[in-house]
């Protein structure tokens, strides 16, 4: 028989091991990708896979010779930030009105917005492609900014709405009685209080935009192509070059990974903000 203390300790050891296993499984592909990016093409293809090898930077040099990484990276940054800024400008007022001036239709509106996420993107590929084409927006950053904003808006509104819902109505009413206009109420009281939640919404939107591949592959070719399109260009018909593909993937993931890592504290706090209270 285990004492209560022993069984508690056992429980925490088991849970800890489980958490580490899951984390390692999740991290392994990234680890392997980074490892492969430093191998020669022959090492990368070797069976059994090699853990010990002579690291080389030739893949990265090759990529820089063949394509302008910074051109694609800038497109990714511009599209992700552009779409996130516009998305937040729309999501905050929408969530404000739904959270603090609820009507009978609010719940349905929220559900309806979310239901648009259930539609497979490819289902609207043709109409959106044709619309983009007739507007002359093919291969422009603007087209991706607009489409990403529209795709992510339901999630952003939902998230911001959830954070706003946690804020006592009284505080905003106090501001109203203190003489604040609606804009002052939002800017000077609501936004500072919910900045943790807003930060995680921004971060999520940036990540979603950064990683989006379907629309970027279908609507851009070169001038507006983001990093996802750059990766895709390395899986070419003349055969797979694993090492180069890994190198370009590493380059594409690195900025958002680093960004996410720096802000992970904020993200975790934001994501658990509603749960703790």
């Amino acid at each position: 028989m285990l004492t209560l203390k022993q069984s508690r300790r056992l429980q925490s050891v088991v849970l800890g091991a489980l958490a580490w296993t899951v984390a390692l499984i999740l991290f392994f592909p990234i680890f392997w990708m980074i490892l492969t990016s430093f191998k020669t093409e022959i090492d990368a293809f070797a069976t059994p896979p090699q853990l010990i090898f002579h690291p080389t930077l030739e893949n990265y040099l090759h990529i820089q010779e063949r394509s302008d990484y910074f051109h694609f990276a800038w497109n990714s940054v511009a599209i992700a930030f552009g779409s996130t800024i516009i998305g937040m400008l729309l999501a905050v007022p929408a969530a404000y009105s739904m959270a603090f001036h609820e009507t009978r239709l609010t719940k349905q509106t929220l559900l309806w917005m979310l239901s648009t996420k259930m539609l497979p993107a490819v289902g609207v590929l043709m109409p959106i492609y044709l619309m983009t084409k007739s507007l002359g927006l093919l291969d422009t950053k603007l087209s991706l900014i607009i489409i990403y904003t529209l795709i992510n808006l339901p999630i952003m509104v939902w998230m911001v709405y959830t954070y706003f819902k946690d804020i006592p109505k009284d505080i905003l009413e106090a501001a109203r009685l203190d003489g604040a206009t609606t804009v002052q109420e939002i800017v000077r009281v609501l936004l500072p209080i919910s900045k943790g939640g807003l930060a995680s919404t921004v971060l999520l939107s940036l990540i979603l935009c950064w990683n989006e591949a379907f629309w970027s592959l279908n609507l851009t070719s070169s001038s507006a192509a983001p990093l996802t399109a750059l990766i895709a260009s390395y899986s070419s018909p003349e055969g797979l070059f694993w090492a180069k593909l890994s190198a370009v993937s590493t380059l594409a993931c690195a900025p958002i990974l680093i960004f996410g890592w720096i802000s992970q504290k904020q993200l975790v706090r934001g994501l658990s903000f509603g749960a703790v209270k």
């Binding site: 505080i171 009413e173 106090a174 501001a175 109203r176 009685l177 203190d178």
Partner: protein, 365 residues
């Protein structure tokens, strides 16, 4: 000067009417308390005055100006919330100066007003702290300070003490009374606690089911409740109610027979009553005495000893509860058979509709 005139005010949420036509006048420097059981509409009434809810019908006038449709920001009223509703991201100083900053008042002026309010409320040493670093009582003080700095036409309080512990509540109650004296301001205060209503108010408004039951000074309401509801709501322990039948009436007196048998002759103008109809006799604990010669036989239930006073809870033979106030050193054993003497001149009589029957002497005078 601040006077408030409310005329036929109505408020409904969907199909349910919460405020069913309220008329009320509030004069300058009055401390008006809205009191009533939960769900009576007292908070809604306050929120309508504040402008936080849209009215369904009727008008609100502040100093002769119709403010029914004016936004809360432009009403010049300050409100203290039950939850304090402090801005959590601002320091105490910022919390108090927020309204003045919004109004564009000069920095030096703002600072002077905040310091003055902090002095009144003894918050000086807390000005640079954030609300989360304060205790409940301190937060409440900041919320009051936030209202004071604005020098509003009317202060609105929405159950401001109900989140505080009992000792602090008593202390803050005294401070609020002192504050009213010091500021000479018009205040409207919502509470479900009738002790707060009795101790703070210059005018009590008793609400029930969205209607005003009675308006008057605390003692007026205590001594002359207009109906059964007000009589039962004000006073601790509660007034005891005994069912009775009218036996004989005249302008000078009314004779009734209690359900448990005894007959009483009350100095009430009984001309509005009908012989044989049911009435209710109301007796406060202080108007009963334990007296072997008394008219009212009872069986003792539990006894509550408060030190200064003792409250003996009793039941009449017809199983109606009564409470008697006796000196603190007195003790009633459980299940004892006693007799009570009734101070008939201080009894209350209510007709079959629950309305008070007026005093015979008042009628004569």
């Amino acid at each position: 000067m601040a006077t408030l005139k409310i005329r036929n005010l109505r408020k409904g949420f969907d199909a349910i009417e919460i405020i069913k036509g309220v008329d009320l006048d509030i004069n300058d420097r009055e401390f008006v308390v809205f009191v009533g059981p939960s769900g009576c509409g007292k908070s809604t009434l306050l929120r309508l005055i504040a402008g936080l809810e849209d009215v369904t019908g009727g008008t609100i006038e502040l100093d002769g100006r119709d403010i029914t449709e004016v936004s809360p920001a432009k009403r010049d009223l300050a409100m203290v919330f039950q939850t304090y509703a402090l801005y959590p991201h601002m320091t105490v100083r910022k919390n108090m100066s927020f309204a003045l900053d919004l109004a564009g008042i000069a920095k030096s002026e703002v600072e002077k007003k905040v310091d003055e309010a902090a002095r009144i409320l003894e918050l000086g040493h807390l000005l640079e702290r954030k609300p989360r670093q304060l205790s409940g009582g301190q937060r409440q003080r900041v919320a009051i300070g936030r209202a004071i700095v604005r020098n509003p036409k009317i202060f609105l309080f929405d159950e401001p003490l109900s989140n505080l512990d009992a000792a602090l509540r008593v202390q803050m109650r005294l401070e609020l009374a002192r504050l009213h004296q010091e500021l000479q301001a018009t205040m409207i205060y919502v509470t479900h606690d009738q002790v707060e209503a009795m101790t703070l108010a210059t005018k009590v408004v008793v609400l029930n089911g969205g209607r005003i039951e009675q308006v008057g000074s605390p003692l007026d309401l205590y001594h002359h409740p207009a109906n059964l509801f007000v009589a039962g709501f004000l006073g601790t322990p509660k007034m005891g109610f005994l069912k009775a039948k009218v036996i004989h009436t005249s302008a000078q007196a009314t004779e009734i027979e209690l359900a448990s048998g005894p007959r009483l002759r009350l100095p009430r103008d009984g001309r509005s009553l009908v012989v044989g109809h049911e009435v209710t006799l109301g007796i406060r604990p202080e108007h009963l005495v334990i007296d072997p010669q008394g008219q009212l036989p009872v069986i003792t239930d539990v006894t509550e000893r408060l030190g200064s006073d003792t409250y003996c809870h009793m039941n009449t033979p017809s199983d109606e509860p009564l409470t008697v106030r006796v000196p603190g050193d007195f003790f009633c054993a459980y299940g004892e058979r006693l007799k009570l003497g009734v101070d008939v001149s201080h009894c209350h009589l209510f007709d079959e509709h629950g309305q008070a029957v007026s005093h015979a002497l008042q009628q004569a005078a």
